[in-house]
Amino acid sequence: MRELLKSKARRIELVLALVLFLVEGFLYLTFRSTELNMFRFYEHAGPWVDSLREWGGELSLPQWVRYSLPDGLWLLSYLLLVDAIWNRFDKVSCVWYLSMPAVAFGSELAQLCWGFTGTYDMMDLVCYSTAVIITLIIVYSKNYIRKKIAANVQ
């Protein structure tokens, strides 16, 4: 565990992932329908959720920020944490990298094709894709830097 926290890049990824996860949670709690499964747990949390939702009701944010951005932040947060743990994409770590994108894209396609409860939204897919692209850029940049450093050492 201590080994994992040694690298500066990993620490940045960990902090960024936690911030994104908190922002995603905040957006869900504040703006989403109370029919979601999560509100079964939060109804026991006390009046602070109601206060938060009242405050959020006064804000005017674009639809995609309320309904699609949290999904993208959720996926990006997961991918950053997996990258912080494994530090490279290879045949051993690929299942962990690909598991939540499979859930994300799969649930969206299930809503479109098999009538899963929920609303299919193209913007959700755009946000998921953006999260995957950002992760690919980070993974390939780290690989490139690693190769440069290795070449300089030789």
Binding site: N37, F41, Y78, F116
Partner: protein, 61 residues
């Protein structure tokens, strides 16, 4: 025996995937997602066991 670093990474990844899977289930309406999540969860448990059984020292990042 097992590569310690690899075991730690695999266990952390499994915990992380479980937390995010549950958070995905709670942010969707209706019960169908739990069936889908259970399938993914069982697949992840299977992969974790498979990883440990096939772990060879030196395959770690």
């Amino acid at each position: 025996m097992f590569n310690k670093k690899f075991v730690v990474k695999t266990i952390l990844s499994f915990i992380l995937a479980t937390v995010f899977l549950v958070s995905a289930c709670t942010s969707i309406q209706g019960p169908e997602i739990w069936i889908y999540a259970t399938i993914i969860g069982v697949a992840l448990i299977g992969y974790t066991v498979y990883s440990f059984m096939n772990d060879k020292p030196g395959t770690d990042a």
